[in-house]
């Protein structure tokens, strides 16, 4: 990454339900201010929202870091939750272990991981059962 890099850091606090989506909303505002194209912003916002919500509903919260460079946006969401035992299965559209209580709130469509894959240009997931999950998503910023 060359040139100036803007770094943002967020705590994803799973105790405060009203803050779910706050990190991605703040990031989106920053990307808007920087004049990045709406399409790129949309990709980054969707991917980050899904990762943030997963840390929220599946892993008791975590942390998010965003690096905005001239050519790419790198979003890292990390948690110390239960981890994902079968990642291939979790990646399938519609697969969800979200309990009914969470589904009633509108989550648990099993589209989070597929959305992250679709809307980021690169998706890397490191996960270990009992230790946690780190999701790194890269969205390339093209000029014009």
């Amino acid at each position: 990454m060359s040139g100036k890099v803007i770094k943002l850091h967020f705590t994803i606090d799973a105790h405060d339900f009203s803050l779910a989506g706050e990190a991605s909303s703040s990031t989106k505002k920053m990307l808007n201010q920087l004049g990045i194209s709406p399409l790129i912003i949309k990709k980054a916002a969707i991917a980050m929202y899904e990762a943030e919500i997963n840390a929220f509903i599946h892993a008791n919260g975590g942390e998010a870091d965003v690096e905005i460079g001239v050519d790419r946006i790198v979003i890292t969401v990390r948690d110390e939750g239960p981890g994902i035992a079968d990642l291939d299965l979790a990646m399938q559209e519609g697969y969800s272990t979200a309990p009914d209580k969470v589904r009633e709130l509108g989550f648990g469509a099993g589209m989070g991981l597929p959305n992250m894959k679709r809307y980021s240009d690169r998706l890397e997931i490191k996960t270990e059962v009992g230790r946690g999950t780190t999701v790194t998503m890269t969205v390339y910023v093209r000029e014009g």
Partner: protein, 111 residues
């Protein structure tokens, strides 16, 4: 058409007062799965949903929908309304069901 005019024509209750009424409407999107809405709603769409918890506000901000309409006279929690007002989002309530709202929207906005 602006949210304000649409709300007047459909006699929608403005749960968030004057918040967000000035936005331009581009169409309608109806869905209750937040992930689905995140990736399919288009900027300026009216979003119709029966989900009333505070998370709909973040989704509305991220997707830049023009407003949220809750059908069938559903109650919306106060925290949701407060947050929407902070973010300049209009939440409107209708006694009609989703289909009814869509039919009215069609006559006003076309396809």
């Amino acid at each position: 058409m602006k949210v304000k005019e649409f709300a007047e024509k459909l006699e929608l209750k403005r749960l968030t007062g004057e918040s967000g009424l000035d936005k331009e409407i581009t169409g309608v999107y109806a869905c209750d799965l937040l992930s689905w809405v995140m990736s399919h709603a288009v900027k300026g769409n009216i979003w119709i949903t029966v989900i009333t918890n505070i998370n709909i506000v973040a989704v509305a901000v991220l997707t830049e929908v023009s407003c949220i309409i809750v059908p069938e006279g559903l109650k919306v929690e106060n925290v949701t309304i407060k947050k929407a007002q902070q973010q300049g989002i209009a939440i409107l309530s209708s006694s009609m069901d989703t289909y009814g709202i869509c039919c009215r929207a069609y006559t006003l906005l076309g396809k």
